[in-house]
């Protein structure tokens, strides 16, 4: 299997001299093509900072991040936007849809920004909408559809440019349990059928159990790594809970 994303000794500090907060102390890992990687951790463990660094929204203090061999920490500020729209797809907790556009226009916007020829925009939107089962809401506005549908629309928008890496930040954070389940099935099918590489940040064990591998972060470092392997999802879920208990125990140990 070929490695699509590789992080080498990433460090991220905030603050100035004398008052430095180390959000990420030293993290290294790699992601294979077609893998569904979950990153878990409590609040303040550094998972969102890590995601921001990978998505080029934030810069690292030290270390290198390679996406298909390109060191994204070296890309010039001017070319970053272009790099993002050509290589990365995003799904956010609060959907980030534009309320002035319909669902189909929201998806089409991602193509239009990438200068896709006007004639091929609509067929591609319809094709993607079919895969994610949102055909019947294409002409509605975001405020007219449910949260789950909004998030599926966000997934469609993220996937429409065939990104090398799909980054999902707490995708089920704003959904009820039924919608969460539906969405996670969708993400799983994106991973399996479209062969998309997914990196998902979450603090919810149930959501994480859909991933094939999970990295647990604690205080800016990788605390543990868990692979699903041949386990069923519920067995994997139990393992995750155990690790979480272990991390929590660390805290109670202090008390």
């Amino acid at each position: 299997m070929n490695t699509i994303l590789k992080l080498e000794h990433i460090q991220k500090y905030y603050g100035s001299e004398g008052n430095i907060t180390k959000a990420i102390k030293d993290i290294s890992f790699s992601v294979e093509a077609g893998e569904f990687l979950g990153i878990m951790g409590a609040s303040g463990s550094g998972k969102t900072t890590l995601l921001n660094c990978i998505s080029t929204i934030d810069t690292v203090s030290a270390g290198h991040i390679f996406l298909e061999g390109t060191d994204i920490t070296e890309i010039k500020q001017k070319s970053l936007a272009r790099f993002r729209r050509e290589n990365l797809g995003f799904v956010f907790q609060d959907f980030n849809l534009l309320d002035t556009l319909t669902i189909s226009e929201n998806i089409a916007l991602a193509l239009a920004i990438n200068n896709v020829p006007a004639g091929s925009v609509e067929p591609r939107v319809l094709d993607m909408a079919g895969k994610l089962n949102i055909n019947d809401i294409l002409n509605k506005y975001p405020y007219q559809v449910s949260g789950g549908q909004k998030q599926r629309c966000a997934c469609a928008r993220a996937m429409i440019n065939n990104p090398k890496l799909l980054l999902a930040d707490e995708p089920t954070g704003a959904l009820d349990s039924h919608s969460s389940q539906m969405l996670l099935s969708t993400i799983q099918s994106i991973n399996e059928q479209l062969r998309a590489t997914i990196l998902m940040v979450t603090h919810d064990a149930f959501t994480a159990s859909y991933a094939s591998r999970i990295l647990f972060l604690k205080d800016g470092e990788i605390f543990m790594e868990l692979r699903k392997g041949d386990d069923g999802r519920s067995a994997f879920f139990d393992k995750i809970l155990n690790v979480l208990t272990m991390i929590g125990g660390g805290q109670s140990h202090v008390c």
Partner: protein, 735 residues
């Protein structure tokens, strides 16, 4: 503690509400500058022949009335600030602060900002008032010297006026804060766009338009019933029919749309076209009446003017409402229109904003039309009256009489007004020229002819005419025996003159037939009292002929060696009117005019009119631009989110900057272009109606210069507001 909170909030708000402070400062500066003229400490050297009190009292009233408009602006900006600060108010409430106290703190905060603008404004106003004084002294024809004075009474009036304004608005705000629920204030920012619903105002506008159309149709049928004549020229016939058929069409169109179940947009497009056609035919009523002397009264003209205004108002509302629909249609037409780069996003921004604010946009557009019209009309009206002043006050003393209500020949005026001679001698006022003369009827039979459009032309004797010409510095003229010539008012057109002279190569008089002289006409201005009522021509006959004619009017023109002072003029006017009242028992109407008094009152009235109209126009423009600007800044929070989504999707900063610029250009450009279009139509119509007066008294060059200046001021204000909005908008989107 509360005081500290107030000051800290105000300090922070200065940055947020820069546009508000700038606007208020400009308004205060203008207010102070214009009002300083009316200060009792203001005493410019305009000479003893002029009196200043008339002007200052008029100015005070005019300026204060216009400034009441500013209350609207203060209210709007305060509301904007209330919306911005809702969340903060909610938090303060939750912490246990009483809503009454919160309201008071908010009020104190706005008052501090208001006071800041008032003092900066007065400071700037001192500079502006120099400009006003310079204009004023130029109007009175005096040299100008700079004088830096702060007028205590004007300062007091300015402060009282604006502080009272802040208080009135502040009371409203405090009540709003008290009445709003905490939960509503807390969740105000999170609210989803309640907006995408279309506003209902267009339906109301359409209903009003239809009501006026019904009235228009009834009027059209009535006028055709009473006045229509098959002998009318084709344009008049078309006007009569148009005024019936177009309103009828406008009434039937909604019925048609209802039966065929057409969309609301179809209905509105039809009504929009109807409003244009209706306005066109209604506007033609006045133009054609002047051209073809139609027997329509001024009441009818006013009625049609109302219809034109209503049609134009509806046109603006419908146009603004339909524009977002047109954008959608254009967008839907082809993928090439929708999908180049961020076009989709841009269209979404514009249509969503237009849909929810079409009412505000329409009101802004209408206000701008009014402002532009005031700008252009002010100099036209004042130029007209000043040009007219040159003709009216050509002589220092001018006595005239009219025989319109005299029915017996023995009652005709014969006096030579000796009372004036006595007064001038008594006050040791030397005269340069003094001419008492009669105007004669060519034919005695015309004495009883009193029809307005057929009033007889009167004649002056050659010697009197030459004396008047000498008084005014023109060359003397001569006439052969049995010859006559003509003298014309400036307002008569060349065409009228030529056709008249062609038809009147000889005329019959009681002293025999006279033929037209080789030099058939003179156009040098000699004052309007030298003509008979309703006529633009004066015959000049040899003295021997005039002796045999019936004198019907007796006038006296005097030029003095030095100016008559304002007091003397008033006194003589009083004495004269006592002896020769405006409507004497004999039926003769006497009038006396002094160049001193006339110049004084005309200049004063003109100055008030011009200053008030220009001030009003600038205030209206500023209000419009502030509202446009704040409307964009108010939504900056929402826009920040939308642009952040774009950034996450990988749109470059350069593109985002371009999008912001495009969006603001449309937002500012749309109402301004629509307003300029409509104003251009109205002004063209206005110029067309009074073109004779413009060419006679103002000149088209001067008018074009004024229109240019108007556009210049509009552009400068627009640039100021556009730039400041753009800078603040970019900052808030990028932060």
């Amino acid at each position: 503690m509360y005081a500290k909170l107030v000051f800290r909030n105000a300090k922070r708000s200065v940055k947020d509400y820069l546009v508000y402070i700038v606007t208020m400062t400009i308004c205060v500066a203008l207010f102070y500058a214009f009002l300083s003229v009316s200060s009792s400490y203001y005493n410019p050297d305009i000479g003893s022949e002029y009196d200043f009190t008339l002007l200052s009292d008029g100015m005070k009233v005019a300026i204060c009335m216009i400034t009441l408009l500013l209350l609207f602006l203060i209210r709007f900006v305060n509301h904007y600030m209330f919306l911005r600060k809702q969340k903060e108010f909610a938090l303060q409430s939750i912490m246990g602060m009483e809503q009454k106290t919160i309201g008071r703190i908010f009020f104190a905060e706005t008052l501090i900002m208001g006071m800041l603008s008032i003092f900066t404004g007065i400071f700037l106003g001192v500079f502006c008032s120099q400009f006003i004084t310079a204009t004023l002294l130029t109007a009175y024809g005096k040299p100008y010297e700079i004088s830096w004075t702060l007028f205590p009474d004007t300062v007091l009036l300015t402060v009282v006026f604006f502080v009272a304004g802040f208080f009135v608005v502040g009371i409203f705000n405090t009540r709003t804060i008290q009445k709003t629920k905490i939960i509503d204030m807390l969740s105000a920012e999170k609210e989803n766009e309640p907006e995408l619903k279309k506003s209902r105002f267009i339906s109301i506008a359409a209903v009003f338009f239809e009501l006026f159309t019904v009235w228009g149709l009834i009027t059209g049928i009535q006028k055709a019933w009473f006045y229509y004549d098959p002998r009318f020229a084709l344009p008049v016939k078309l006007m009569f029919w148009g005024n019936i058929l177009f309103p009828l069409f406008a009434l039937l169109w909604p019925v048609f749309c209802m039966i065929r179940k057409k969309k609301r947009e179809y209905l509105l497009i039809g009504l929009l076209i109807c409003s244009v056609l209706n306005a066109f035919t209604a506007a033609n009523v006045a133009a054609l009446k002047n051209k073809y002397y139609l027997p329509l009264g001024s009441g009818t003209l006013k009625q049609y003017l109302l219809f034109v205004l209503m049609d134009l108002l509806f046109f603006i509302c419908a146009l603004i409402y339909l524009i977002s629909g047109l954008i959608v249609v254009w967008k839907e037409k082809s993928p090439e229109h929708r999908y180049p780069e961020e076009a989709l996003f841009f269209f979404g921004q514009i249509t969503s904003k237009l849909n929810t604010t079409s009412k505000t946009m329409a009101i802004i557009c209408i206000t701008l039309v009014l402002a532009i019209f005031m700008f252009v009309a002010a100099p036209v009206l004042t130029g007209w009256s000043l040009g007219y002043l040159d003709i009216r006050s050509m002589y220092d003393v001018q006595v005239s009489s009219r025989y319109n209500d005299v029915y017996e020949e023995e009652n005709l005026p014969q006096d030579s007004y000796e009372i004036i001679t006595d007064f001038l001698t008594e006050h040791k006022i030397d005269t340069d020229y003094d001419c008492t003369f009669s105007l004669y009827l060519p034919e005695k039979n015309d004495f009883h002819n009193r029809q307005k459009y057929d009033f007889p032309i009167v004649a002056i004797s050659l010697s009197d005419y030459n004396t008047i010409r000498e008084m005014l510095g023109y060359e003397q003229i001569s006439l052969g025996e049995d010859e006559f010539t003509t003298q014309w008012k400036a307002i008569a057109t060349d065409k009228e003159r030529d056709s008249f002279l062609k038809e009147h190569t000889s005329i019959m008089t009681d002293a025999g037939e006279l033929t037209l002289s080789g030099q058939s006409y003179y156009e040098d201005a000699i004052g309007e009292t030298a003509y008979n009522s309703y006529t633009d021509i004066l015959y000049v006959f040899p003295d021997s002929v005039c002796e045999k004619l019936l004198p019907v009017i007796k006038n006296r023109y005097i030029t003095t060696a030095e100016n008559i002072s304002y007091e003397n003029a008033r006194e003589l006017e009083k004495l004269f009117t006592e002896e020769y009242p405006e409507q004497a028992e004999s039926g003769v109407m006497y009038g006396i005019r002094f160049s001193t008094l006339q110049t004084n009152s005309t200049i004063a009235n003109n100055f008030i009119l011009q200053a008030a109209m220009l001030y009003g126009a600038v205030v209206l423009m500023i209000i419009c631009l502030t509202v446009l600007s704040l409307q964009q800044l108010l939504d900056a929070g929402q826009y920040k989110y939308r642009f952040s989504v774009l950034r996450k999707l990988g749109v470059e900063e350069k593109h985002i900057g371009k999008l912001i610029l495009q969006q603001l250009s449309v937002w500012f450009g749309l109402p301004i272009i629509a307003a300029i279009m409509v104003a251009a139509v109205i002004i063209t119509y206005f110029i067309q109606i009074i073109s004779a007066e413009i060419s006679a008294y103002i000149g088209f060059g001067a008018l074009m210069l004024q229109i240019g200046a108007t556009m210049g001021i509009l552009v400068i204000l627009l640039i100021c507001y556009f730039l400041s909005t753009w800078i603040i908008f970019r900052r808030s989107v990028n932060s």
